[in-house]
C-alpha cells in the first residue's frame, strides 16, 4: 500500500509524515508524531478527548484523516503553554481543581481556548453548550465551567 506524504504545521513547527489513507489525524498525532497529549476516548466524535484546532477551527481529530491535514496548521494541547508560562486556562484548571483523572482535560482545554478565541466574555450557558461535545465523567463539570469563566475574566482584564 502506498503511503501519502503530508506536510503540515503542528504547534508552529513544520512536520512531515507518511500515512495510510485510513489513518486519522489522531492516529498520526499519537503514533507518528508522539503527541500523546491528544486522547482517544471513543473514535466516533462523541467524547471530545481528541479535540485539536485545524487552522483555528475546533475539530475532533478522530474524525479527520491524516492526509486532510496537508498544508494545514494544527494546534494540540502540547502547544498551549508558551515556554514556561502556562496558558491562563491551564492555570485556572489547576487553581479550580477542574480535573480529577485528567484524561479529558487536554480536550477541554483545547475546546475552551477555541471558545475564548471567539467569545472572550461567555455566559455560563454559552460555556456549557460550547463544551457539551467534551465528556467528563469525574467532575460533574462544575469546576470546569468555573475555571473557564474565571480564565475569561482574567484574560479580558489582561
Amino acid at each position: 500500500m502506498t503511503k501519502h506524504h503530508v506536510t503540515a504545521t503542528v504547534n508552529g513547527d513544520e512536520v512531515e509524515f507518511l500515512c495510510e489513507t485510513q489513518e486519522t489525524l489522531l492516529d498520526v498525532l499519537r503514533d507518528q508524531l508522539g503527541l500523546t497529549g491528544t486522547k482517544e476516548g471513543c473514535s466516533t466524535g462523541d467524547c471530545g478527548a481528541c479535540s485539536v484546532t485545524v487552522d483555528g477551527r475546533l475539530v475532533c481529530s478522530c474524525l479527520m484523516l491524516g492526509i486532510e491535514a496537508n498544508g494545514k496548521s494544527i494546534g494540540t494541547i502540547e502547544g498551549m503553554a508558551s515556554g514556561e508560562e502556562l496558558h491562563p486556562l491551564q492555570r485556572k484548571f489547576l487553581e479550580h481543581a477542574a480535573l480529577q483523572c485528567g484524561v479529558c482535560t487536554p480536550g477541554f482545554l483545547v475546546a475552551a481556548k477555541a471558545l475564548l478565541d471567539r467569545q472572550p466574555n461567555p455566559s455560563e450557558t454559552e460555556v456549557r453548550y460550547w463544551l457539551a461535545g467534551n465528556l467528563c465523567r469525574c467532575t460533574g463539570y462544575d469546576k470546569i465551567v468555573r475555571a473557564v469563566l474565571d480564565a475569561a475574566t482574567e484574560m479580558r482584564g489582561a
Binding site: 481543581a97 480529577q100 465523567r137
Partner: protein, 767 residues
C-alpha cells in the same frame, strides 16, 4: 468557594484542609501525563480481540490456522492458552472473585455467554493486519437461547447459562440447576410483628437498568515478556498489584516474574478493578517474543467490560403516624451478568443502613444473565437498593404528612446504632447532613413553575486494607514518597499534604509517586474509597518513622539519650532539661549526617488499615419537568456529605459533584438497551448518553466533618457515597413536580411523557 460547616478540632493545621495545586497537575494540563495507551515500546505489536457475535452459544471449535499464516501475524491465542481454574470464591475488596469464572471471562472456553465475550486474540505488526487476522479465525458456534432480563432469568425453564449452577443459600439444597447463583438474607427483629404496629405501609416495586462506569479512557495496556520469563506490564488500572496477582494466577507464573506499573488512570469508578486485556497481552507477548499493546475501542468497553447490575427491587416500609418506622423489608434481584457475583450483598447490607430500625428483613438474589459480567461501580449495589428505599421513605412522608427531612431525622442512625447488617456504628454524620440540608438556603427557596424538590440520603461503608508506603529522606533533605494505590482524583496531593503536616516541611519538598509492584510490598487497589484513608494512614506512619529516626541520629551526634530529643516544627531539638543545649537540626542537616550516623533514613509502612468508617450524605435536588416533551432537567442541586475530614476540600467537593453527575445520568438517561436478539443496541457515547455540561447546573456542596477517630487526620472515604442519593433525590423531585411516582429508571422523556399523559387523562397530574 463552597461553605464548610462544623468547626472540627484541628482547623489550625498548616496544610490539611487547604487547597494547594496538585503535584500531578501541570503534567495533566500540558499533555505530558502518560495514560494507558500513551506508552510505546520498541518493536511493539498490536493486539486485537475476536468477540462473540452471539449472546449465548456453545463453541464447537475454533480454527486459527488461516490467521496464523497471515503475513505480519506474530501470535494467536484462544482459551486453550490458559489453564483451567478451580471454582473458589475469594474476597476482592467490595466484590468476590472466582478464578474459574475470571479465566472464562477473559477468554471463553466451552461457551460464549454474552455478545462481546472474548473468543480469541491476535498480535500483529499493525492494527490493519490484526483486524484482517480476526476475520480469518473460524469459530463454529452452536447458537443457544439467551436470557437478558433478571426476572425472566429466574423463572424455571429459562435458558441456563451454567448447567452446574445450583442456588446457594437455600434449604434444602436445590436439585435442579438455575440462573440464581445465590440467595442471601439479613434479618433484624421481627418484621411481621412490626408491620402489625404500623399506621401506614407503603410497598413499591422498582426496576433499574445496567449502567456503565463510563470512564473516558478505555482499557489499555502494553506487555513485554523477556526470554528469561520476566515480564513487564504498563496498564491503566485501579490496582496494579491486583493485575499482577490475576495475571500470575491465570498464566501460572510466579508473582515476582511480573512487574506491573500503573499508568495515569483516566477514570475507573470500580470498572478498572478487574482484568480483561492484561492476561491476553502477556500471553501474546510471550508467544510473539515482542511487546504487545492492546487498547479497547469504546464499543468493546460497552460490550465487554463490566457495567453495574440492572435490578428488580421490592421495598415495603411501615411507620407510625409520628413517623417512626416500625418495619422495613426489601427483596433485591440483581443481575450479575454472565458469571455469579453481582453486588447484591453490599446492596442488601446498606439498604437500610442510614436508619436506626428494630425490624428489618432484606432478601437478595444474585442472578446470571447473558450480559457482560458486572464490575464494581462506585458504591457497588448501594445506589440500587437505596434508590428504592429512599423513594418509599419519601412517599411515606407524604402519606403521613410529614417533612421528609423530619421523617429521616426521626429514624436516623447515629453513634451506637446497631445496623441491620451487624455492626454498631461509631460517630457518623447522618443527623449532621440532615440538619445541614434543613438549614441550607436551598431547602427554603421557592420553586418555579413545573418544578419540584426532592431529598434523599445515602450510605456507603468504605474500606481499609493492605497498604504499603515508603518515604525516603534524600541526601539534600528533600523527601520522596512512594505509594501503591493508583491516584485517580488527587491522591498524591492528599498524601503529600498529610506528610507535610506531620513533618512540617513545605509541600514542594516532598515528591509523591505511585510506585510499581517491584518497589513496595503488597497494595490492595484504589477502591472502596480507601486510598486517601489507607495510604494516608501509612504515609503518616512512615513520616513518623522518619521523624523518629531523625531524632535518633541527632541523639547520637549530641550524645544524648534518644528520648531526650524531639521533632518539633520541622526540626530535631533537644527536649526537656536539655532544651537549648544544641542548635536545632533541620531535615537537611540530618540528611547531611545520615551516612556517618547509620546510613540512609527512610520510613516504610506496611499495614492492614483498620477503622475505615462509613460516610453518609443527604442531597437536595430541584427539577423542572417539561409538560410537552417529558424532559426532566435538574435545575439546582446540593450535595451534603460527611467527609470525616477533608484533606484537600476541592477534591472532596469534586468527588461529591462527580458522583452526583453520574447519579443524575443513571436517573435520567443512561441504560443498556438490548434487542430481542440479545445484542446491545447503544454501545457508543452517542446513544448511551452520559450527562454533558449543558445537561447540568452548578452542583453545590457542603462538607460536613465528623472526624473518624480511627484515622490520624479523621479521614473517611468520600468517593462512593455521592452516587447513592441522586436517583431517589431526582425521582422524589419529579414526584413533587408531577404528582407521579416513577419506579423505573431511567426517567427518560418518552417514559415521563407517557406517564404524564396517563395522569392527565385521570386528572391526577400536577402539571
Amino acid at each position: 468557594m463552597q461553605e464548610k460547616v462544623n468547626d472540627a478540632p484541628g482547623s489550625d493545621y498548616t496544610y490539611v484542609g487547604t487547597r494547594p495545586i496538585r503535584p500531578d497537575g501541570v503534567d495533566k494540563v500540558t499533555g505530558r501525563a502518560k495514560f494507558g495507551a500513551d506508552l510505546a515500546m520498541a518493536g511493539q505489536l498490536v493486539g486485537k480481540v475476536l468477540r462473540s457475535p452471539h449472546p449465548h452459544a456453545r463453541i464447537r471449535s475454533i480454527d486459527t490456522s488461516a490467521a496464523e499464516k497471515l503475513a505480519g501475524v506474530k501470535a494467536v491465542i484462544t482459551g486453550k492458552d490458559f489453564m483451567d481454574q478451580p471454582s473458589e470464591f475469594i474476597p476482592a475488596g467490595e466484590m468476590m472473585i472466582n478464578y474459574r469464572d475470571v479465566v472464562r471471562n477473559v477468554m471463553a472456553r466451552e461457551k460464549a455467554l454474552y455478545e462481546g465475550h472474548a473468543i480469541a486474540a491476535v498480535a500483529a505488526t499493525s492494527a490493519a493486519v490484526a483486524k484482517q487476522a480476526l476475520k480469518l479465525i473460524k469459530v463454529d458456534y452452536e447458537v443457544l437461547p439467551h436470557v437478558i432480563d433478571v426476572v425472566e432469568a429466574m423463572k424455571p425453564g429459562a435458558p441456563l447459562l451454567h448447567e452446574d449452577m445450583y442456588t446457594a443459600g437455600v434449604e434444602p439444597a436445590p436439585k435442579t440447576p438455575s440462573n440464581v447463583a445465590k440467595r442471601i438474607e439479613f434479618v433484624l427483629g421481627d418484621v411481621a410483628a412490626g408491620f402489625k404496629q404500623a399506621d401506614v405501609i407503603v410497598e413499591r416495586e422498582f426496576t433499574t437498568k445496567p449502567v456503565h462506569q463510563g470512564y473516558i479512557e478505555p482499557h489499555a495496556c502494553i506487555a513485554s515478556v523477556s526470554e528469561d520469563g520476566t515480564a513487564d506490564i504498563w496498564v491503566t488500572t485501579q490496582g496494579h498489584w491486583i493485575v499482577r496477582a490475576h495475571c500470575a494466577r491465570l498464566l501460572g507464573w510466579d508473582v515476582n516474574k511480573i512487574r506491573a506499573t500503573s499508568s495515569e488512570i483516566g477514570g475507573g469508578f470500580g470498572g478498572k478493578t478487574v482484568v480483561y486485556l492484561e492476561p491476553l497481552a502477556l500471553a501474546l507477548a510471550k508467544k510473539a517474543r515482542r511487546p504487545v499493546k492492546m487498547v479497547m475501542t469504546r464499543e468493546e468497553v460497552f460490550r465487554a467490560s463490566g457495567p453495574t447490575s440492572g435490578a428488580h427491587v421490592r421495598v415495603k416500609i411501615g411507620a407510625k403516624k409520628d413517623g417512626r418506622i416500625v418495619a422495613a423489608e426489601a427483596e433485591l434481584k440483581y443481575q450479575a451478568g454472565a458469571f455469579a457475583g453481582s453486588p447484591v450483598q453490599p446492596g442488601a447490607m446498606c439498604a437500610y443502613a442510614p436508619y436506626d430500625l428494630e425490624n428489618v428483613k432484606v432478601v437478595g438474589y444474585d442472578v446470571v444473565t447473558n450480559r457482560p459480567k458486572v464490575a464494581a461501580y462506585r458504591a457497588p449495589g448501594g445506589p440500587i437498593s437505596e434508590f428504592a428505599v429512599e423513594s418509599v421513605i419519601d412517599e411515606l412522608a407524604g402519606r403521613i404528612g410529614m417533612d421528609p427531612i423530619e421523617l429521616r431525622l426521626k429514624n436516623a442512625a447515629k453513634e451506637g446504632t446497631k445496623a441491620a447488617y451487624g455492626p454498631k456504628f461509631g460517630p457518623i454524620g447522618m443527623i449532621d447532613t440532615l440538619k445541614a440540608a434543613k438549614s441550607h438556603a436551598h431547602w427554603r427557596t421557592p420553586l418555579g413553575k413545573n418544578q419540584g424538590r426532592g431529598v434523599a440520603s445515602g450510605f456507603w461503608f468504605n474500606i481499609g486494607g493492605e497498604t504499603s508506603v515508603s518515604l525516603s529522606l534524600n541526601e539534600d533533605g528533600t523527601l520522596s514518597l512512594t505509594a501503591g494505590t493508583p491516584d485517580i482524583g488527587g491522591l498524591r496531593a492528599s498524601l503529600c499534604m498529610m506528610a507535610a503536616e506531620e513533618l512540617k516541611v513545605p509541600l514542594d519538598k516532598i515528591r509523591v509517586q505511585i510506585g510499581d509492584t517491584g518497589q513496595l510490598g503488597y497494595n490492595f487497589l484504589t477502591g472502596g474509597s480507601r486510598a486517601t484513608f489507607s495510604s494516608g494512614m501509612a504515609t503518616v506512619e512512615a513520616a513518623r518513622e522518619v521523624m523518629k529516626e531523625a531524632c535518633k541520629r541527632a541523639a547520637k551526634l549530641w550524645e544524648l539519650p534518644e528520648d531526650a530529643v524531639e521533632y518539633k516544627d520541622g526540626a530535631v531539638r533537644p527536649a526537656g532539661p536539655n532544651a537549648g543545649k544544641h542548635n536545632p537540626m533541620t531535615l537537611k542537616e540530618i540528611a547531611g549526617i545520615a551516612g556517618k550516623t547509620g546510613g540512609p533514613i527512610a520510613g516504610y509502612s506496611r499495614i492492614n488499615a483498620h477503622g475505615a468508617a462509613p460516610s453518609l450524605a443527604t442531597h437536595v435536588c430541584d427539577v423542572e419537568v417539561d409538560p410537552e416533551t417529558g424532559k426532566v432537567s435538574v435545575v439546582r442541586y446540593t450535595a451534603i456529605q460527611d467527609a470525616g475530614r477533608a484533606i484537600h476540600p476541592s477534591y472532596v467537593e469534586g468527588q461529591y459533584q462527580g458522583g452526583v453527575a453520574q447519579g443524575i445520568g443513571w436517573a435520567l438517561n443512561e441504560e443498556y438497551i438490548y434487542g430481542a436478539d440479545g445484542k446491545m443496541q447503544n454501545a457508543g457515547f452517542l446513544d448511551y448518553r452520559v450527562p454533558v455540561a449543558s445537561d447540568l447546573p452548578m452542583i453545590d456542596t457542603v462538607i460536613v466533618e465528623v472526624p473518624n477517630p480511627r484515622h490520624p487526620y479523621g479521614v473517611r472515604g468520600v468517593g462512593e457515597t455521592p452516587i447513592v442519593p441522586p436517583m431517589a433525590a431526582v425521582a422524589n423531585a419529579v414526584a413533587n413536580a408531577t404528582g407521579i411516582r416513577f419506579t423505573d429508571l431511567p426517567m427518560s422523556p418518552p417514559k415521563v411523557l407517557k406517564a404524564l399523559d396517563e395522569a392527565r387523562a385521570k386528572g391526577t397530574a400536577k402539571i
